[in-house]
């Protein structure tokens, strides 16, 4: 009997604590917004996991929200799903990096305009021993050929993501179809999980630099080839076409795009990651006007 009572008491205390916390959390919301809140204050931004994992958006978000009064709701999925959310009207704005898929999206009338605003480079990572000699190659194409010729294991995202599409483009450029080859492992996973597999297998992998750097402490992988022109990775924003989905927040999307290409965001992006990795993770494209 006594024990039962004690349990009950514990439960009550726990619930009370939970209540207090939720109360605190709700009162912490800033109420003194200097900028007038727009009519439709929520922007649903759909982006890819790799962008989200880099931390860039959560770094920019508070500045943007403070400057404009909008609230950013970010969902991150694989590139295919990220774009599909725009197609089904479940997002107002896209931030992705898969040129062909983006153009298809716009041609089908779902997007207003493709606005490339920053880029970085994919890198090829692999074991320090580098059996295929990737470090001695000049371009990603050369490196891929070397890997295929040597038959060294290569772990692919295999998930139709921007990174996967960039990788396939390189294979196509050297006329190699790696599908089904014993050395070609299609992981069907996100970037982090794919890097993990490559590390466990001591295999090569094409990755964006940000995800690699963020996880490098736990990986037995080194950057073997970087900043080759055929590994350039361009990020764009696309506002979802209000002609297709009248409910979308086109004003919000435009405000977001405008802010992201403005001077303040440009400076912020250029600074991002410098402190931690002593080099920028993203480069702003300067030819906006």
């Amino acid at each position: 009997m006594k024990i039962k009572k004690n349990w009950l008491l514990l439960l009550v205390v726990l619930m009370a604590v939970a209540l207090v916390f939720t109360a605190c959390a709700s009162s912490e919301k800033p109420e003194d917004t200097e900028v007038a809140t727009p009519e439709n204050p929520v922007i649903r931004l759909s982006t890819t996991t790799s962008v989200n994992d880099s931390g860039l958006l959560s770094y920019l978000q508070p500045y943007f929200e403070e400057d404009t009064g909008y609230t950013l709701e970010i969902t991150s999925n694989g590139t295919g799903a990220a774009i599909a959310l725009g197609q089904s009207g479940d997002a107002d704005c896209l931030l992705v990096h898969a040129k062909a898929a983006e153009e298809e999206f716009i041609n089908a009338g779902y997007g207003v305009e493709r606005i490339p605003f920053m880029y970085n480079y994919f890198v090829i990572v692999g074991p320090e021993s580098d059996p295929a000699g990737v470090a001695d190659c000049a371009t990603a194409a050369e490196a891929f050929e070397a890997i295929a010729n040597k038959g060294s294991e290569f772990v692919s995202r295999g998930d139709d993501s921007g990174t996967h599409k960039a990788e396939l483009k390189i294979w196509t450029s050297v006329n190699i179809d790696p599908t089904g080859k014993t050395w070609y492992v299609s992981s069907g996973s996100g970037m982090g999980a794919t890097l993990n597999q490559a590390s466990e297998r001591l295999a090569y992998c094409l990755t964006d630099k940000a995800t690699y750097l963020a996880n490098s402490a736990n990986l037995d992988l080194k950057i073997l080839l970087a900043e080759s022109e055929d590994m350039k990775n361009t990020y764009s924003m696309i506002a979802v076409n209000p002609d297709k989905w009248p409910d979308t927040n086109i004003d919000g999307s435009n405000a977001f795009i405008e802010w992201m290409t403005g001077d303040k965001a440009t400076d912020l992006i250029a600074e991002f990651g410098v402190k931690e990795y002593s080099e920028p993770l993203f480069f702003v494209i300067d030819n906006q006007k």
Binding site: G80, A82, A84, G158, S186, G188, Q197, E200
Partner: protein, 227 residues
Amino acid sequence: MEYFVDAIKMLLGNNSELRDIVAVTLQMSFFSTTISMLIGMPLGVLIGSRHFVGKRYLVRVIHTLMGLPPVVAGLIVFLLLSRSGPFGEFQLLFSVPAMVIAQVVLITPIIMGLTASITSVRANSLLETSRGIGIPRRKEIGLLLYEARIQLIAVMMTGFGRAISEVGAVQIVGGNVQFKTRVMTTAIMLETNKGNFELAVALGIVLLLISLIINSFAQRLQEERND
């Protein structure tokens, strides 16, 4: 509906990848259920039928493990099998055996706990009787299992259902490698992530169909045994 037709066509047609995925799924679910039963049922019978010091605590631990989050099980097995982990030398990570190990960690407590509670219902009466007529003690576990066989078929199906529908642990330790460790659930996740919702739905229907077929078999078995 057309997705459904497409899915059936894929299954019957030349789509070796889908058949590959179904085969890996069945293989993994079969082995993990079988191994979990071989471990969980005899131990469950022992726990359900014996009185011993600390039984209450053991049962509590098992019941907690029955609700073990799959991703936690996956993470533990991942760390154990990782190249830098204690069993890294066996190079089991991202293989079907790795998925089976993670599933066994998940399913064995479920089978053990359910078997124990099923057994405990009749254990006292059965053991009093069997000892009363001098049936050797070594036969007791077998007798208890035999007498519970109809309910144990349901337990087996619970285990199999868990194995075939699990996604978190197999994604972590299996790695969703095409042609090797990709199963129905991780394939559905992948296709959803790609935005291929049609294919994802089709795969989901196939998964449900497999479950339906296997459950029908189990039900037939139960009814036969019940006669």
